[in-house]
């Protein structure tokens, strides 16, 4: 089992790949989300799917304490029936830069269903302490 590294600004490289990770979203997690956000919608909640996509980042790195979520972009391409819960996510470090003394890192993650259809693409920026 590989040991996870702490995500550090100085060590991340633009273009660095976040390798594909396959996973199942458990039904209990969907129920937990619905309770937390009082959401009675049908189908797999897109938020839960976006949250799970982070797995490909979190399999490789642990998030440094003090890291701040600065922005989020989401492109939803496919409605997901509730019974469909197996996905694959992979990503890339799109950009890193320093602005007003803060270290920004931008990631892009793509998620596919079992048939290879793109479910969503998410892009997000973190401010990383060091």
């Amino acid at each position: 089992m590989s040991e996870k590294k702490m995500m550090k600004f100085s060590e991340l490289k633009e273009g660095e790949i976040l390798p594909p990770v396959s996973y199942e979203i458990p039904e209990e997690k969907i129920e937990e989300y619905k309770r937390l956000f009082d959401d009675s919608s049908r189908g797999l909640p897109p938020f839960v799917c976006c949250l799970y996509a982070m797995k490909c980042l979190l399999e490789k790195y642990s998030i440094q304490p003090g890291t701040i979520h600065a922005f989020q972009e989401v492109e939803l391409r496919k409605e997901i029936p509730l019974e469909e819960r197996f996905f694959k996510s992979y990503g890339v470090v799109k950009e890193k830069f320093n602005k007003r003394g803060k270290n920004y890192v931008l990631f892009e993650i793509t998620t596919e269903d079992l048939r290879g259809n793109i479910v969503h693409k998410i892009r997000f920026g973190f401010v990383v302490p060091e």
Partner: protein
């Protein structure tokens, strides 16, 4: 739907309990969310909620309004411009800015109920003509 139309807002309150529950749910135990002392040391003045909590409510608002069209053909971008702190009473907002063909452009975000201060701001595009299905 026409420019100026507003989406049905969702009201919610941030509490430390809710933040802790979300940390359990997401596995994100970054101490800025759950450790008051750490959050003070790093200059945040106290714990702040995960930005994803606000994002979840925004997505719920868009999903409620647009249903399958939101899931199958939409894009949004949000910026977390100010922290959501415990005891803040908040609400989502969404307003149609422009309609072009089958595309609806909206401003979206989260603001404080008390004074309207915006904590999350962004834009969304819903493609009403699109509904993906992989058949």
């Amino acid at each position: 739907m026409k420019p100026g139309d507003k989406l049905k807002e969702i009201r919610f309150k941030i509490t430390q309990e809710k933040i802790n529950q979300f940390a359990e749910f997401s596995g994100d135990f970054n101490p800025i969310h759950v450790d008051e002392e750490f959050a003070k040391i790093v200059g945040l003045g106290g714990t702040i909620a995960h930005g994803a909590i606000g994002m979840a409510y925004i997505m719920k608002m868009l999903h409620t309004e647009f249903g399958k069209k939101f899931c199958g053909g939409s894009r949004f971008i949000i910026k977390f411009i100010s922290p959501m702190r415990p005891d803040f009473e908040l609400k989502t907002f969404g307003e149609v800015k422009e309609i072009s063909g089958s595309s609806i452009y909206l401003s979206i975000g989260v603001e404080k109920i008390e004074d309207g201060a915006k904590l999350i701001v962004g834009e969304a595009l819903i493609e009403m003509g699109a509904h993906s299905s992989d058949g």
